[in-house]
Assembly symmetry: D5
Homo-oligomer: 147 residues x 10
């Protein structure tokens, strides 16, 4: 009996290590970006039927687990992360957040950058002084409604 | 008597509204990106002497305030933001953080993306379905030392 | 010297009590709904120039304060409210939140109800067993992007 | 041995996925609104005997589980939600809460909107610019007693 | 300029000490119970015009302060109290809360005891082993609506 | 192997539902008030040997469980409750706490109402406008020692 | 205008430093222990009229401040202390708390050590390996009432 | 497989109840004070080999459990206690902490009372008005190093 | 099925106690410092294949566990530690943090000491007044980028 | 009127910026290490009379401020730091804390590294790949007392 999506995420993580599968392979099999596919495998996005079955085959999941991959999950890990890599992302929000807010409002007026109509692309940028992580975030600007 | 950098930030914010100055104008005067310059005006980065004097003139700051702009500030606002625009940034970390961690490690191995040797670029991306906010983050990859 | 929007909100609240102004009168003068106008007076929305001047006249605000009303504010009070009326709103989210999530996903699939492209209408509903508060919330459904 | 209602909620959620049942079907079988019925299935309301048995048949629950559905549960999930859909509901309280309080007091005087003598109705509102979620909340106004 | 009710509460507390006024005297002047009157003076309830003027005279408050006494305040101190007397009240909820919940549901079914249609009476109960504090709380039972 | 009282509380709650026992029946069997007996069954008070055996028979508990009922438990659930009925109790402390403190000190001087030498009585008070919950709390006044 | 006891505590601390007064001198003047007297000066206990006047003379306090010394204060600093000396006291509770609970219950049965009918005595204990701090706490045992 | 000390503590507590052992008996068998021995059994101190074997025999522990008793545990329960007896200890720190700090500094200068080179002794003090709990804490004074 | 690194850490800790292995022996077998090796065994660093197999042999781990040792773990325990030894480390940051920040900035300008390009060395320093713990931390200075 | 040490710290920080004084100069004038002296200026240590007067002259402090420098301050900033430099120190405790605990216990047995009988030395370590920050911490080992 599976009663939440987290149990399926744990099955995927366990199978991934014992089978030595890479996220990029999963993304190719599913036919979407590695960013969206990884997020979906980690229980943050919803697969359609065909995608769920593809993922199920790669990780040897039961039918019940495949059914759960098509259920909208409870998302977000919340809190302030303790893992150093995750904390750096949080720190960027903490240090640069105010400036991002000021500059978006200066350019667009009152509103937000959507985190739903949103995409993310992570690339390695070769650099002689040490390669860099390049992250491109693209979110639709949503203006506050006046009524 | 000024005893911390926050007081200078408040002077800048107050003068900015009454004088109607834009962050882009400040950045041009200082000769650096709008992202770094805004962060510095908001008390998150340190100006050198010439930059501090330029900023001081734009905002009519006292010599004491200009001296404080050259002192390394206490950075970061911390906490979980309540402002909707800021919260969306935090939510991206909460929803996508685990995936970003997995993908960086898959590409680079154990380590982090630096938030210090780091730059940020925010652009408007025109889109017929509604313009988008485009944020490019570039941080040096730092591998964990084995010793 | 005004250095944040909260100071203007306090001026408005103070003038509202001594002058005996009602929120509905402000809304009529501004020409928008009472819900949006009150939110804007409380520092949660941004007035345009004409609206800000109207509000400024009603509450006898200085030019500096009127300028601040046109600056996008830092929004949200955050936390878990202690005021009983506000707590009941929070409790509805706590008790019904899971059900609202299930029913929106059942109807629309994966996505959210926007809190930005959003409007609110509060009405008194007469009832012989005791009048009721009727709140209508309308938010655009935003589907999660697959990419 | 079942020792709290959460265990029954997990049984329902598990059976719902494997059987592919919809909340609307449950509501029809029970004969009440989809909002109340879903809340009750998620452990936030109390079923009477007939309703509990109906739900028990739909989800193949044991007699012990059916007995627990008739016990008043411990309600509310509390905290600040991390799921984006739930967070937007919380954000509406955070951004609009003060205004709702002002407008209810302006209309009714000192008191609250009940979250107990309360009903909720969620509908899809077709809109050419994108369908909307429409939520109607109706709660009895309760005036503070003077004594 | 007064911009919130707390400032008025502080004026009352200050005047109470320098004038040596007792809460019972205030209650008698206002013509209501000592419990409600004290709560109102501490910024938890709303006075009507006549009551506010009576209180204003007793404590030598300005007209502006008297106007604020008629505004519905933001109520509740929240948090977990540190004062030993207040903590004991909280501890009673922490130790006996579950039992109170069980017994009210056993007697009344699903619902709550109102904290709005509520009154409180505190009396000294003489006792040879040491006098006791007697607190009577009376709140209307509100059943959960089924719809 | 039972290693804490909570496990026994869960056994009691489970047996109570499947056997359909009422707290009042337990109290009668034990020969004490329903308030104290319920609190003890929920792991907040300590039974003596005879009482524990009575309770053990009613709920079919093992000898080990009966032994645990005679061990002083770790008490208090702490935190701020999310269940609406429990929250109303907490809200009364939050809204009325300051007034209770003022009135007890006005009557008794510096000290507290004991939560140990304390009793609680909950009754239904019939009322044509809707029955009321009546809670009487009686706690010994303990003056602060001067030394 | 003084509106809370903390302001008086700050006056005392300020005068204590500029006048070079010792807590022991204050205790002697008041005629009570140094522990109780210091606690009272720090806003944790209530002076009677004669004691308050003595303290007022020592620290050159105004009549209004002397009146406040006779008002029961809001006690307790709460939280987890950051000062190393205070933290060690907290750590003793954290490390030894469970053992103290076990041993008091083994000796006395169910109940608590009063923190109200309580006294504290701090002495220097000479020791060739380094002098020791000796703290004696004495609190009345209060048994839980059965009813 | 035992992977932390807490599991051993739970074995000890379980055996203590079923065998009816007293902490004083354990202390006598071990040959140390009841305070230190109880703390060690509760996972706050480290037994040597002989002591661990003695404890193991008393509570019928496995060899693996006896080995864990000799491993330095992770100590401290942290947080703010909810159990009334434990809370009173915390409250003493909250109410008297500032005074203890002042008096130790007045007597010894800058430094702390050690919580490591520390002992505790708990005794029943007979008193006609009700027996008292007497706790003697003795900790070495450690002066802050100047360098 | 292993689904996270913590499970492997618990296997290592359990085997370490039953086999009586020392961290220094593990470090020698792995061929790296005792500080890095212990951190890696506790789930804070990533082993390469050869190192993981060495560790696996020492602690009799399964192939699946050995595979997990080569996966980058989720690091950091977060929170404020309650264990006295760990708390002292936290206290040093709390008491000396501001001074460390000032002195690093005075020497190096704006930037940080890396916690990634970082090493740690712990030694016993014999001292007639009591041996000392000597910890040497070495982290690369990373200057903030201006762009 | 100065009523706490923080006010003096702010005076020092303000004077330091306007006079352009370096911490190393202060340390030389005082005749102690730069680490201890900076900590003392930031309100974490206690100066003796001669040191306080030296510091007072350097920063043009009043006699009252100089008196406060000789009073033992309330130490520690507590919380989890948001400043990136400070956070890295906290992160080292979070990531390496468990390992430090294991290694100190392996070497010394049960006890702690003192944070009171403690010294700190910060040096720049030249390195062709980028200079490093070198921090040496030396704290007396304190064994837990058995009694």
């Amino acid at each position: 009996m599976i009663s939440n999506r987290d149990e399926v995420t744990q099955m995927i993580l366990s199978a991934k290590v014992s089978k030595g599968i890479k996220w990029k392979q999963v993304a190719e099999a599913v036919g979407l970006s590695k960013e969206w596919t990884t997020a979906a495998c980690l229980g943050q996005m919803t697969f359609d039927k065909a995608q769920a079955e593809t993922v199920g085959k790669l990780f040897d999941l039961s039918d019940e687990a495949v059914a759960w991959l098509q259920i909208v999950p409870s998302k977000g890990t919340g809190g302030i992360p303790t893992d150093p890599l995750l904390y750096r992302l949080y720190e960027i929000v903490s240090v640069y957040g105010g400036s991002i807010k000021e500059l978006i409002h200066e350019e667009f007026g009152d509103g937000i950058m959507s985190a739903i109509d949103f995409s993310l692309d992570i690339q390695r940028e070769p650099d002689p002084k040490g390669d860099r992580v390049n992250m491109v975030m693209s979110g639709k600007f949503l203006p506050y409604k006046r009524y």
